[in-house]
Amino acid sequence: MTEQSLKWFWYASPQTFFPLARTIARLCAVLAVLFTLAGLYVGLFVAPTDAVQGEAYRIIYIHVPAAWMSMFLYVVMAFWAAVGLAFNTRLSFMMARALAPTGALFTFIALWTGSLWGRPTWGTYWVWDARLTSELVLLFLYFGYMALQASIDDRRRADRAGAVLAIVGVVNVPIIYYSVKWWNTLHQGASVSFNKAPSMAATMFTGMILMALAFWMYSIAVAMIRVRCEILENQS
């Protein structure tokens, strides 16, 4: 094994990762607070009122970042589950377990805020369109993963069963993302995407990116603290 690859595996051990996780958690917690304050300031005070939707549009500053996080955290969770299955590293499974509750929370927030946005703009809290339904399936995937983990007493078997569920469920993420293109949904298409300039005012875009960074930092901080709990709980 080369020196370079040894460096990589150094932090694969829960004992060596434990202090690093605290440093990351503290740094990200501070950044999360700062980004939230900046994002709320821009989103609620600086950004102008939307010409069509009025003030109700301000919900997107939490709705869109939460929806991004709900999908992104699932992919990261499935990634660590896959790494755990492939290399049988305990820390990878712990990472997957640590991410699930936060991912489920952001999925619920995306659905909740979307519903409160839909009522004034679409005239309904809920429709069974492809985007909303696939996002609801994502919530059930998170719940299924957590329930499966909790229902199997043997830790190793619980991790492996959960990992398989998480990996199979990752199919749903591109379905959510492309649902607005593949099907004729009530949900609008993406205003921000990888291959074109955002179709919104610059301050609105800034507010959304700040809130996305805030949720990102929050998720890392919470996951790192949770992984520390996992490490401590599995020592005995």
Binding site: G54, R58, H63, C229, L232
Partner: protein
Amino acid sequence: MSEFFAMGGYAFFVWGAYGVTFALLAVEVFLLMKRKRETKT
């Protein structure tokens, strides 16, 4: 100031979204801190 809280008539929807979001994040942090305390002892 009251105009700000009125949100152009959409106060229920806007503050309902923001309120529940930050309340849930606070609950998660609270539960996590509780778990952290319990694992240390």
